[in-house]
């Protein structure tokens, strides 16, 4: 019952988005039912549809979790994008620099580089917020620009193969590769880039849930987010919680680098992120800042990304931007639900 109530608004928002989307499709001159069955069908076909949907969902799970953890501490981490770019570059750097190491050493090292760099990239705004009160929305955005510029610079001038026309680093050591699903899943083609990072994302969901609701750290982070004055009263150092939450958030965002570098391209490819960090905000919002919700929302958005290509190719007029319309409308509805709820809550409170 409680679960149903949690799910009903997000589901309504998704349904409403499809409804609004169909108006657009009709206006453009295509058949909504045909378009949607194309969208959903291509996202759920076996093995390519499912494979790519899960592959696209993987970074969104990480960034959705990242935004959710920060949000539970009352922080808006707009900088997951910069954190994952810095982290992906660091992952590639570790994979290139220590290419000779065996897999059991190199893979953990690369993962550590990814998470550590993400944690630092988010931790700096955390410290600035905790120590000087600088608002994290501003500082994380600034850190985004720094990450993008630095990663491009180092790729271009230090880690690119001589004469390579593409802005990408040299490949990482082969022992740093993590397995694609095709390696161990019979009948699953290895050309589909779905890799073990997806499993890591599922594990991350569980760990985040445990962290937030079963540890003292999570309690103190959530208390800080819910009411900083009461948290301080409870002997919680809110400054420390802010830094901790940002670091955890950043390391989750940084894990995008693991899937991208160790599981997909095996190098740092400049501009690889299709706005995962920003879509993560939408994922967290739709998923109500809860790991289960984040997982479901990320799967939905992953399916959108996969289906969009087919909509683009196989319909007369509709382009792949349809899914941006759907995403936008979902966020609008989810956000206005918060508005609606606030109103209902105010009425409730005012009943005395």
């Amino acid at each position: 019952m409680k679960l149903l109530r949690q799910l009903i608004y997000p589901l309504l928002a998704v349904a409403a988005a499809f409804l609004v989307g169909s108006v657009f499709i009709l206006l453009i001159g295509d058949d909504p039912i045909e378009t949607y069955s194309l969208l959903i069908g291509s996202a759920l076909s076996w093995p390519d549809g499912i494979g790519y949907t899960l592959f696209y969902a993987t970074p969104l799970i990480f960034t959705g979790l990242a935004v959710a953890v920060a949000f539970r501490c009352g922080l808006l981490n707009i900088g997951a994008e910069g954190q994952l770019i810095a982290a992906a570059f660091a992952t590639a750097w570790a994979g290139i620099t220590f290419a000779g190491l065996p897999a059991w050493l190199l893979i953990p090292l690369c993962c550590l580089a990814a998470m550590g760099t993400g944690a630092v990239w988010a931790g700096v705004p955390g410290v600035l917020r905790a120590r000087f009160g600088a608002h994290e929305v501003i500082t994380t955005i600034m850190m985004n620009f720094i990450a993008v510029a630095l990663a491009s610079y180092f790729t271009q001038y230090h880690y690119k193969k001589e004469g390579d026309a593409i802005l990408q680093t040299v490949p990482i050591g082969e022992s740093g590769h993590i397995a694609r699903f095709g390696k161990f899943l019979p009948g699953f083609p290895e050309r589909i880039p779905l890799n073990l990072a997806f499993v890591l994302a599922l594990v991350a969901c569980v760990l985040v849930w445990i962290f937030l609701w079963r540890t003292r750290w999570g309690y103190e982070i959530r208390a800080t987010g819910a009411n900083p004055a009461a948290a301080a009263y409870g002997g919680i150092s809110t400054a420390r919680q802010i830094v901790l939450a940002m670091a955890v958030s950043g390391s989750l965002a940084g894990m995008v680098g693991i899937g991208e570098v160790l599981g997909y391209r095996y190098r740092y490819y400049d501009g690889f992120s299709a706005g995962y960090g920003f879509t993560g905000i939408a994922v967290a919002l739709l998923g109500r800042n809860h790991p289960v919700g984040v997982l479901l929302a990320a799967l939905l958005f992953g399916a959108f990304l996969r289906g969009a290509l087919f909509v683009d190719i196989f319909t007369e007029h509709v382009s792949k931007d349809l899914v941006l319309v759907l995403q936008g409308v979902i966020i609008l509805f989810v956000a206005s639900e918060a508005l609606f709820r606030g109103r209902a809550a105010r009425l409730e409170r005012g009943k005395v």
Binding site: R214, R216, W217, A229, G234, G235, I236, G350, K351, V352
Partner: protein, 508 residues
């Protein structure tokens, strides 16, 4: 002036108003009293068009009227001052007052004329408010006057005030009452919603008592007394006097020496305060709010940064203050429990459930926290503790999975008191223990504090209710502008004398 007949209003499953009928005579001050949740505000919000009634009718000057919105109410000369003011902070008094009813033409706002009119209105009532002052520069009491003027500017003949004294200092209350009496002399009608019996008796002509959404009494103030009103409000006899045994003070628990506290804006809030509290006694702090009580309690609890305090705070002989002293959590672990003055701001995590709220402050202690470094929270131990508190302190409804927000003020307070007393403290810091709490719960809370004293705990009590501190405290310190002006024996000092000390005067 106004009459409600059989007004019924439901919010979901809750019957907030059940056939409420009440009549306000013109030219009187009419008090509507009842505990939190009795339906007083709902009834008046219906009269003001804020809610629409499911059933029943409203008569204004004997004629049935449809009041579907506040605009309807205003056009029928009904005004309302809400508990939380609805003013634009950055605009001036005059601008706020005319907002929505601006004089002049569409193109040119006649602000000069508005200021003159506001000045005239405020002089008529003896309200000293500068029409040109921005709202953000005004005290809470002055802002309330602006709200009054706003209603009068819109030619209200009936004014409804929702808990107007909750935010005021004693002087401001006295001034407000003088203003309301003057309005009555001018032929206006006043309805005041309150749950403070002393205010009812002092100010009103008539009283309507509500309980559980129903009107349970209509009385002439002259012909009733506090005990009768309290009995109607609660539905049973209530002990309004606190009964206590003489204190048996033992060893000194708290020793404060020359404590100074500076606020973040660098103003001195506490200016060299020294006193002791012994085990088994209640030391009360009397004072007008804003004279350093908050800072005193928070400094002892460890909630003021060490850099902004000086002097020493000793707990059983050990200095716990200063940069090398203990932080809030360590002080709690040393046995300092703290019931904060503002339970919504400090005391509770409103969106967390009761179980999670019951461990705030001890989230790092056994048996709630287990494993290396106390990292894991033990659900079973937390639930056990929460259940114990809810049971022992009669928190209702006794469901630890509910969010703290859903509890009434009294039950929220009982949860906090239970949580703090469950620490078996050596020293209890308690501020405004019964603010916004029902009469029935007040009695319970007072008994708990006294029982703690009798078991050998040292208690430092701050309350804005002079009656409360004088009744509970064994010794009373009067605080004025950050200094202790005198220690008095509450049993042998009249409230008038203490009141005079509180405002900086010395009794002869």
């Amino acid at each position: 002036m106004i009459e409600l007949r059989n007004i019924t209003k439901r919010f979901g499953n809750v019957l907030a108003n059940d056939r409420v009928s009440l009549k306000v005579e013109p030219g009187t001050i009419h008090a509507i009293v009842g505990e939190n949740g009795a339906g007083k505000s709902t009834a008046m919000r219906i009269a003001y068009g804020f809610y629409s009634a499911d059933d029943g009718e409203i008569l204004v000057d004997g004629v049935a009227q449809r009041i579907a919105s506040p605009q309807d109410a205003i056009s029928r000369h009904i005004g309302m001052v809400h508990q939380h003011f609805m003013l634009v902070e950055t605009m001036t008094v005059a601008e706020n007052i005319v907002l929505g009813a601006e004089p002049g033409s569409v193109a040119a706002l006649d602000l000069k004329g508005a200021e003159a009119q506001v000045r005239r209105l405020s002089e008529e009532l003896g309200l000293a408010v500068d029409p040109r002052a921005p709202i953000s520069d005004l005290s809470v009491g002055q802002q309330q006057r602006v709200e009054l003027l706003k209603a009068l500017y819109r030619q209200a003949r009936l004014l409804i005030l929702d808990e107007p004294t909750a935010v005021l200092t004693p002087q401001e209350v006295a001034e407000l009452f003088a203003i309301l009496r003057r309005m009555r002399e001018q032929g206006k009608t006043v309805v005041i919603i309150t749950h403070k019996l002393s205010e009812v008796l002092e100010l009103s002509d008539d009283v309507t008592v509500m309980r559980d959404g129903k009107v349970v009494g209509y009385l002439k103030t002259k012909e009733t007394n506090a005990a009768e009103i309290a009995r109607l409000m609660v539905g049973r006899d209530v002990l309004l006097r606190v009964e206590k045994k003489p204190a048996q003070p033992a060893a000194t628990v708290l020793e404060v020496q020359d404590l100074k506290v500076t606020a973040a804006d660098r103003t001195r809030r506490l200016d060299g305060v020294s006193f002791t509290v012994r085990a088994g006694e209640i030391v009360g702090i009397a004072g007008v709010e804003g004279n350093g009580q908050t800072e005193l309690i928070e400094a002892i609890a460890g909630l003021v940064p060490a850099a902004r305090t000086s002097g020493s705070i000793r707990l059983a002989g050990d200095d716990i203050s200063g940069p090398s002293g203990l932080d809030a959590r360590q002080r709690k672990e040393k046995g300092i429990a703290h019931i904060p003055e503002d339970r919504h701001r400090r005391g509770l995590l409103l969106d967390f459930d009761l179980a999670e709220n019951s461990i705030l402050g001890v989230q790092r202690s056994r048996p709630m926290a287990v494993g290396p470094g106390g990292v894991w929270l033990d659900e079973a131990a937390i639930h056990q503790r929460a259940e114990r508190i809810v049971h022992d302190f009669d928190v209702r409804p006794p469901n630890i999975a509910l969010p703290a927000r859903s509890l009434s003020g009294g039950n929220q307070q009982k949860l906090i008191i239970g949580r703090e007393l469950d620490l078996h403290p050596r020293l209890l810091l308690v501020a405004q223990p019964t603010r916004g709490v029902d009469i029935g719960a007040i009695e319970f809370i007072h008994r708990q504090i006294l029982a703690l004293r009798d078991s050998g705990c040292a208690v430092l009590l701050v309350s804005a209710e002079l009656e409360e501190v004088t009744a509970l405290a064994d010794r009373l310190l009067v605080l004025h502008q950050g200094k202790i002006v005198r220690e008095v024996d509450p049993a042998r000092t009249t409230t008038a004398e203490i009141g005079l000390l509180m405002t900086g005067g010395a009794p002869a």
